[in-house]
Structures are given as C-alpha cells and as structure tokens.
Symmetry: C2
Subunit: 182 residues, 2 copies
Amino acid sequence: MTEDSNQAGKVAIGLVIVFTGHGKGKTTAALGLLMRARGHGMKAAMLQFIKHSRSNFGEHRAARLLGLEITPLGAGFTRTSKDIEKSRALALQLWGIAREKLASGEYEILILDELSYPLQYGWIPVEEVLKVLRSRPWGMHVVITGRDVPPELIEFADLVTEMHEVKHPLRKGIKAQRGIEF
Amino acid sequence: MTEDSNQAGKVAIGLVIVFTGHGKGKTTAALGLLMRARGHGMKAAMLQFIKHSRSNFGEHRAARLLGLEITPLGAGFTRTSKDIEKSRALALQLWGIAREKLASGEYEILILDELSYPLQYGWIPVEEVLKVLRSRPWGMHVVITGRDVPPELIEFADLVTEMHEVKHPLRKGIKAQRGIEF
C-alpha cells in the first residue's frame, strides 16, 4: 500500500479487530459487523469456537434469513475431562476450517468468535494464528472475540476494544433474557 | 415479578442496557442485538439520534433485507450554529417518536442509538428519559448507546458495558473501512 492509495480511501485495508474484556457485547458487536458486511454485499462468515454445534440462537436464525454464514462448532462451556477432549478436537477442526477460509481469498470479513479460549487453553498456538493472519489475502478483515486475548495478538491487532463490565443484571438475580443474551 | 417466575425463566424482564465508553463497538453491539431479536421473531426497532436521515450505511441496507426498522434522524456530527439548531429539532422530533414507541406496547426491544449526545447537550432532560423508561411496558428491553452517558442513566440501567479503546487504526493513519465502521 502506498500512502496515496490509503489517503484516497480507494484501497481496502484488511484490519485485525479484537473485541475482548469481561463485559457484554463482544460477540454481539461481531454480529453487528456481520450484518453491516451483509448490507454492503461483502462476503463474510462467523466461526464460533465455543457455541455448541447444535446452537440455534437468535443470531443463527437471523443469519439464515440474511443468507449469512455462521458456523458454531464447540461443545459449550461445560468442563468434564471428556468434554475437554471433545472441545479440543472441535476447536482444532474449526481452526482448520478457519485456515482454509483465511487462505481461500473468498471472504472479505472472517469472524473468529471466542477464539481466545482455545488460545488460552494452549490448543492452538498463538504463533500459528499470527503466522496465518500475516499471510492472509490483502484487504481481508479478521475479527477475533473472547476474554483474555493473548498479549501477542493484542499487539498484532489494528483495532482493539475492551468491553468493560460496569453493571450486570445477573448480579441482581435476573436470568439471561431471550433476544439479549442468546 | 415474583422470585419464582424469574427463576422459572418464563417471564421476560425488560432490561435497560447501556453501551458506552470511547471505544468502538457500541452501535455495532446494538445492531447485533437487533439481529438477534429478529432471529427470535421479536419486534425491535433502532432510532438513531446522530446518523443523518439520508444515511444508507451497511446496517441500513441489511435492515431492509431483514425487514428491520432502523430510523436515522440526525444531522450528522458537523457543528455550525445553524446545524446545532437543526440537530436539536431533529433530536426532539426523534425523542417524540421514541416516546410513542415506548408507550405503544408494540415493541419488545427499542434501541436509542447515540441518545447520550442530545442528553449531554441538554436538549432532552435526563429526568424525562428516566420517567419514560420507568413507565414503559413490562418486559420491554431498551438499549441506549453513546459516549458519556449521564450518571443518573448509568445508575438506572440494568446492564452497562463500557467500550474501552485499547488501540485504534486511525492512530496508524488508516481510514475508516467499509463494512467495519459504516
């Protein structure tokens, strides 16, 4: 990229965007980007590393209505040792799909929802993620969400927002609400 | 609401949700909620207090595809004294629409995007907003976005997330990107 092409705003610059922190709105903001991308007719997909493969939440239903690709391939957050093995295998399988999509050149935006967890657990090496991100097609945006994104990835990213929890209704004893949390 | 009905998760509890802070992702997270609501077949609308009434960004195009209601009725962020008068009049007009929608009982989720600005400028009194929120139909969720939401509204809200800017590409001299920022 030359300084000129950037200033003219004609060349798309692929950004690595991170939504992290312990507050609400990380996946939700990524969904908003997906919706915006769809409005522009851009090819976009969301891969979900934790959400169960049989998930059928509001976002999955809306995605079908919009013809958007959302692929949940996790085992949820429950943690027995058997679950952990299954989660690990699913995370590696989904990372394989992510690598293919990243290399394909077919997508303008790829969202790796809750990728931070398999990184934290050491299932996917951060160095490998950085390598794949560095070699992705020019102009492709990648959005990564989840708590506690490793510092190497924060350092590499172009846009990082930390969602900070100021107040949460679960503290008041109010349960998760349909249309808001799922 | 009794403790039981809450625990059974059968009764929808209308939440007041705030996305604030100086980081990215406030409006985008609200869009994600709108998309999720649509997936559940819930009636939802977004009123935009700053975005220009002729806005046709990614979210507006996607909203049309999904049959979602997004009403931008602002004059943008430019500020000459004439603009300010126009912005004020538009904000009051949109607040009138918001009050009608809040009272109508027709909506399950109403998003007041960038409401914080007319509150800050003193165009709409915070006390009036609190009064209207208190008297809204049971079970109705309201989402408010924008920087510097007044403390009275933060105090009143059930769920508050502050989007904190860790890193922003404009600092690197990269312009706003289609599908990401608009």
